[in-house]
Every structure is written in C-alpha cells, then in structure tokens.
C-alpha cells in the first residue's frame, strides 16, 4: 500500500481542482460529495497504510516522485517519506479533516453554490498542503506545504471577504506567519549551506557529528523555531490566531485548532535530533511554550466570544506542546497534538453548532440554558470540556499528565506554572460551558424561537469526535497503570536518534501517583468553583475593572504591538512615501525629465540658423582639437 501514498495528498488536490474550476456549474450536493469524498478516500488509504507502518521494525520509506530542484551538488527531490510520525499525522489530518468536511456540508449550506464550492475547494487545497507538509521527505517539501497551508488559512479566514474586518484578520494572519516563515527559510538556507542537503534522513545522519552545543546547530534550531512560532501561534507571534476566528467555524476547527497550527510541533518533533543537540534552544522552546500557555490561558478567563475563548485555549494548549518539546518529551507533544486535535475540533464544532442555532450570535453573555434545546451538542461539548480540563479517563488527562510529569523532571518551578495553567484551563472551559449551556436563556425571543438541535451532518461528527476524545488517550497510558504506552512504542524509532542526548528523568511511581492526584484534585476544585460562579450566570452588563479589564483586553498586547511596531512602521512608511518617494525618487525621475527638457530648450538656442555663429563654433572646435592633439 505504501507506494500508493501519493494518492493521499493528490485526492484532495483533485477535489480542489474539480470544485475550484467547476464552482459555477456544480450543484451544492455534488461539491459537498466531492469535497468530503476525496478527503474520506484519503483517510481510507491512510488507514490502510497505517498497519504496515505499525509493524515492529518498519524502516522509513522514501517515495521519490521526481527531481524538484537540482543545482550543482544540491538535489532536492519531490519525495514523500512514510514513517511512524508522518503516518500518524496522516491519520489525524485526513480523519479529523473528513469529519469537518462532512460537518461543513451542513454548516455552510446557506451559502450560494458558488461560494459553497469555493469553500470546499479551499478546504481541499488546505488538506492537500497539510499532507504535503507532513509527507515531505525534506525541508523544502515541508516548506511548500507550510506556505500552502498559510495561503489556505489566509483564504479561509477572509472567506467572507466582503467584511473588511475579516480581511484585516486574514492579512494579520498572513503577515505574522510571514515573519515566522522568514526564520524557517533562513534555517533551510543554513541547513543547505552546512549539510548540502535538506533531506531529513541525510541531515539527521550528519547532525550528530556536529556535536552537542555547536553554534551552527543553535542557529538552525532557533531559526526553525521562529518558523514554528509563527505557524503555531507562540509568543510573540500569537496574536493572529484569535483574530483568525473570523473564518467559518469548521475552518477554525480544522485549521486553527486541529491541524495547521500543530505544523510547528510537527516540525520540531521531526527535527528532534537538532533540538536535542541544542539544549539552550530547547530551554527557550520550553520557556516560550510555558509563557504562551499561561498568558493565553489568563486571557481566555475573561473573553466573552465563544470562539475567542477556544482560540486562546488553542494558543495555550499549543504552548503546552512546545513545553513538552522543550523538556524533551517529544512523544508527549505528539500525543497532545493528537488528543488536542480530537477535543479541540470537537469543541470548535460544538461552538459552531451553537452559533448555527443562535443564528450567528457568538457572545456567550447572550446565550445560556442551551442544554434544554441542544442535548447532543450539550453532551459532546461537556465531554470536550472534561477532556481538555484533564479529568481522568479522558484523553486530555493522559497527554497533559505526561507533559506535566516530564516538566516536573525538568524543572519544578516550570511544573508549578504549568499546573497553574492547567487549572486556568479547567476554569475557563467550565466558565464557558456553564455560561453557554446552563442558567436561563438571555437572548432575544426571536432567537429563542429558532433554537433547535443541529442536523445529523453536524451532530454525527460531534459524536464521533466525542468518542475519540474519550478513548483517544488510551494509546498512551502512563506506565504506572501497568499497561504499555502504545504511542511511545510506536514512535520510538522516530525519536530514537535523540535519546542519547536527553537526560531522562524517571519518576518514582509514588511521585507520579501523587502528581496525578494533585492535578486531578485541583482541576475538580476549579470546575466546582466555576460551576458555583457561573451556573446561574446573569448578564449584569457591569464593566470589568482592574486586573479583569486587563485580561479582557488581552493584556493590551495588540495595542502594544500597535504602538511599538505598527505605528513607528506607519510613520516610517509615511516618511518614505512623502519624503523619499515624492521628493527623492519622484524628484529624481521628474528631475531627469525636466532637466532634459530644460537643457534641450537651451541647446536648441544654439541652432540659431546664423552661419556666422556656426563658423565661430567650428573654429572654437578646431582650436580645442589642436590643443588636445598638439599639447595633451
């Protein structure tokens, strides 16, 4: 089956081409079927590939399609690499992707058939790019996919392009990503300069020879991490992700929660050898991840837009993943990517269902008591909240606990901070849940009249994702339970090269039980506090004051960026526009024109038609020539 792996990305590409080119002719039902069907078929192929990859002793296979770039001694093939990591990501992307496609057929049904087809074309293109990203056998292929998903993200955030604010959000996402991409690109150049290759297998084979603490490796690791910062919304490049919620909700679920934003984690996990050999950069990764996790969680505490809460939650969870990468727990990071894909997609799709029922309303202060009307959404949303909060038995518990345990081994203070973040996560998720689903309805009568459970195309993906959110964690149970950590065994070949450089911390079983008990107990306390505070929530309309106001305004980070980057840049641009452009460049260009015009008007006067003057000029010329030839 593995030789058919090229079908996985090219089926969505086919869907993109059909839907994109035929958007004016195809009926909605057909575009929906094509869009979802291609991704579903890709999922089936991925499922068929997976058992082969799971075999013990499976060696990574590189399927080379053609030579993409061949310059001098540098050869960059257009090749796919199938190994444990990429096969896992294939499953996540195509699986969650196909569920979200099915969901979208219902969610986007009110769009005109042209924009409906456009939506599915973009979505298919996104899936294609994301698959290229994870399947690529070298950094250049990864970069192609990286840019492709960035483009699709831009197109889908600005999907309703008639709204100027959405376009601004799309621009913001694109530009912020561009900053990160520059780092990634420079990292690739440095790799080429250093190793003469960008193919994973070749680079990783040569990296250990550089030795631990090599300056070049530090630079490469840092540049690649800057790329990851942009794509995975880490400080300081995270502000685009909350704004990206301008796109349709399924897009937020697929791109800005489950798949694209985890590309940075994928890249760091893929380059684990490089990072393991650059411990200082690893520490930076961990710190950036932790700070992002805390900052985003604190902002989420006071947000009132249902999607914004989830967006900041996503940023926070991505921070946890980077924390895991930073402390060397690569398996835990990938594990959290997987579980997060399940429950965050679930939460986003659930919020989409709510927004759908509320007729586009996103402010949770105007909701409340929705469990009466939307039982399925209520239950699945609750499962998602429990999973993300880390209640034992659900997937989020296992992955988050693994990260926390590794952090304890790495640094106790970081563990404490990460635990505080996890508690904040529990608090804001249940604040969101209680305000939205319990209490009494606070919207208008008209909205109340229209409240209804969503159709099956919406609830079915919710149910499937809820089931996955529950059971997804059992592939990675901690060893204290006495069961094998299936995921760690599965991924072991990927992270084996970096194992010698990591300083593993084996926690005693008592300590691990203790940590688990501590976090679980505190999380449950937080949930009850949230329940006590918000289950009977009334919208008093009172303004937040003090610290709460700072949180509501997202720590004023946007304003800060505006003040220190955007405004000076604007002033500089205006200076360039008004002074350099107008006076300098325009002046130069126009000056040449007027200069020629003026001087030709002067020179024209020499042609005065008087023979005497001509002879005079001739004699002057003769004198000059004589002087030159006789004396010089």
């Amino acid at each position: 089956m593995i030789h058919l792996v090229w079908l996985v990305p090219f089926l969505p590409l086919l869907g993109f081409l059909i839907n994109g080119l035929g958007r004016n002719f195809l009926p909605k039902s057909l575009t929906g079927v094509i869009g979802s069907g291609t991704v579903l078929a890709a999922f089936v192929i991925s499922l068929l590939i997976f058992p082969e990859v799971r075999q013990p002793g499976f060696a990574p296979q590189v399927i080379s399609l053609f030579d993409f770039i061949s310059v001098g001694s540098l050869h960059i093939p257009f090749a796919f690499q199938v190994d444990q990591l990429s096969a896992l990501f294939l499953l996540i992307i195509t699986g969650v992707g196909s569920l979200i496609h099915i969901y979208s057929t219902s969610y986007m049904h009110e769009e005109s058939s042209e924009s409906f087809a456009r939506y599915f074309a973009y979505l298919n293109l996104f899936v294609f790019s994301m698959l290229i990203l994870v399947l690529g056998a070298n950094y250049v292929m990864m970069f192609i996919g990286w840019e492709g998903v960035g483009l699709c993200s831009y197109l889908l955030i600005g999907f309703w392009f008639k709204n100027i604010n959405y376009n601004k959000a799309a621009n913001k996402a694109f530009i912020m990503n561009r900053i990160g991409d520059l780092g990634f690109l420079l990292g690739i150049f440095l790799l080429i300069q250093q190793f003469g290759s960008v193919t994973f297998t070749e680079v990783f084979a040569k990296v250990p020879a550089m030795g631990e603490g090599s300056g070049i490796l530090f630079a490469i690791a840092m540049l690649l991490f800057i790329g990851a910062m942009g794509k995975s919304a880490q400080i300081p490049l995270y502000t685009w992700l909350p704004d990206a919620m301008a796109g349709p909700t399924p897009v937020s679920a697929l791109i800005h929660a489950a798949t694209m934003v985890t590309a940075g984690i994928y890249m760091v996990a893929r380059s684990n050898v490089i990072y393991s050999l650059a411990p200082h950069i690893q520490a930076i990764v961990a710190i950036v991840g932790l700070v992002t996790a805390l900052l985003a969680a604190s902002i989420a505490l006071k947000q009132n837009d249902i999607k914004k809460v989830l967006a900041y939650s996503t940023v926070s969870q991505l921070g946890y993943m980077f924390l895991a990468l930073g402390v060397g727990a690569y398996t835990a990071a990938v594990f959290h990517v997987m579980t997060h894909a399940f429950f965050k997609a679930l939460l986003f799709l659930g919020s989409g269902s709510v927004i759908h029922a509320m007729g586009g309303e996103q402010d949770i202060r105007k909701m409340g008591g929705l469990k009466k009307w939307m039982p399925v959404t209520n239950i699945t949303f609750l499962i998602g909240c429990l999973a993300i909060a880390g209640i034992p038995g659900l997937s989020g518990f296992f992955s988050k606990d693994e990260i926390l345990a590794h952090t304890w081994g790495y640094n106790k203070i970081m563990y404490a901070l990460a635990l505080i973040g996890a508690l904040m996560t529990a608090f804001y998720m249940f604040r969101l849940y209680y305000i939205t689903f319990s209490g009494k309805f606070r919207g208008t009568h008209e909205q109340e009249h229209h409240l209804h459970e969503s159709p099956v195309a919406i609830t079915l993906p919710l149910i499937i994702l809820a089931i996955l959110s529950v059971i997804g964690g059992y592939v990675g149970m901690p060893e204290v339970f006495g069961t094998p950590h299936l995921l760690a065994e599965y991924l072991a070949p990927i992270f084996a090269p970096s194992a010698p450089y990591l300083h593993a911390h084996h926690l005693s079983h008592e300590l691990e039980w203790g940590l688990m008990g501590l976090s679980t107990g505190l999380v449950i306390v937080m949930i009850f506090i949230a329940r006590g505070k918000f289950s009977k929530y009334e919208d008093t309309g009172a303004e937040n004051t003090g610290f709460a106001k700072v949180l509501e305004n997202k720590w004023y980070v946007d304003e800060l960026y505006d003040a220190i980057i955007v405004k000076p840049l604007m002033v500089l641009s205006r200076f360039f526009q008004d002074v350099v452009e107008r006076a300098g460049i325009d002046g130069l260009v126009n000056g040449v024109g007027t200069g020629v015009k003026w001087s030709s008007r002067q020179i024209r006067l020499l042609q005065n038609g008087q023979v005497g003057f001509y002879i005079f000029a001739m004699v002057i010329g003769m004198i000059v020539l004589f002087v030159i030839s006789l004396f010089l």
Binding site: Q607, N608, G609, Q610, V611, G612, V619
Partner: protein, 105 residues
C-alpha cells in the same frame, strides 16, 4: 632661411582669413577671406616643395601640382559661388549672410 618663417607667415594669413570670415557679414568679403586661406595653404605647399628640393628629393614637383589643383578648384568654386551670391542679391537685394538664416525653422 628657416622654413619656419614661411610657416608663420602662412599661419598668420590663414588666421586673418578666419577672423575675416568670423567678423564680416558681407558674403563677398567672406568669400575673399576663404580665398585668402586657400592662398595661405598654397604658399605653405610651395615653401615645402622648395624645402624638399633643397633637401635632395626629386619628386617635390608634386607639391606645386597640388597648388595647381587648388587653384583649379578655387576657380570653379568662385564661379559657382559668385553665381549664387548674384542670385541671392537679385532676390533679397542684400549680401548679408544673416538674412540667409533659413536653416532656422
């Protein structure tokens, strides 16, 4: 007697001719100044001819033949040039060359 004397004489006559061309506006005078310049050159040619004869060259007669040809061309030029001036005078009743500024425009 150094041949430089003749060279300086020729240069003097030639420059006087040029000054005349530059300073006068009467077409006939300008014409005469051109003749003067031609004669300065003729004088120089003859002087060099004599110089080479004295130096023992036997083919120095060619220089005098050039003078002869210059005279031929000058005579032809004068006949045509004076005809043009006469015609111009017939049309404009003037021999001022500044009137002939038709080159302008």
């Amino acid at each position: 007697m150094p041949v430089q004397y003749y060279i300086f004489l020729s240069i003097a006559l030639f420059c006087i001719g040029i000054m005349g061309v530059l300073m006068r506006r009467n077409a006939i005078i300008i014409f005469m100044c051109i003749e003067l310049m031609l004669n300065a050159v003729n004088l120089l040619l003859v002087a060099f001819s004599k110089m080479w004869v004295d130096a023992g060259r036997i083919d120095a007669a060619a220089a005098q033949l050039f003078v002869f040809f210059v005279m031929v061309v000058a005579a032809a030029e004068v006949s045509v040039g004076l005809a043009i001036i006469v015609m111009m005078y017939r049309n404009t009743h003037s021999v001022d060359i500044n009137i002939l500024s038709r080159l302008k425009n």
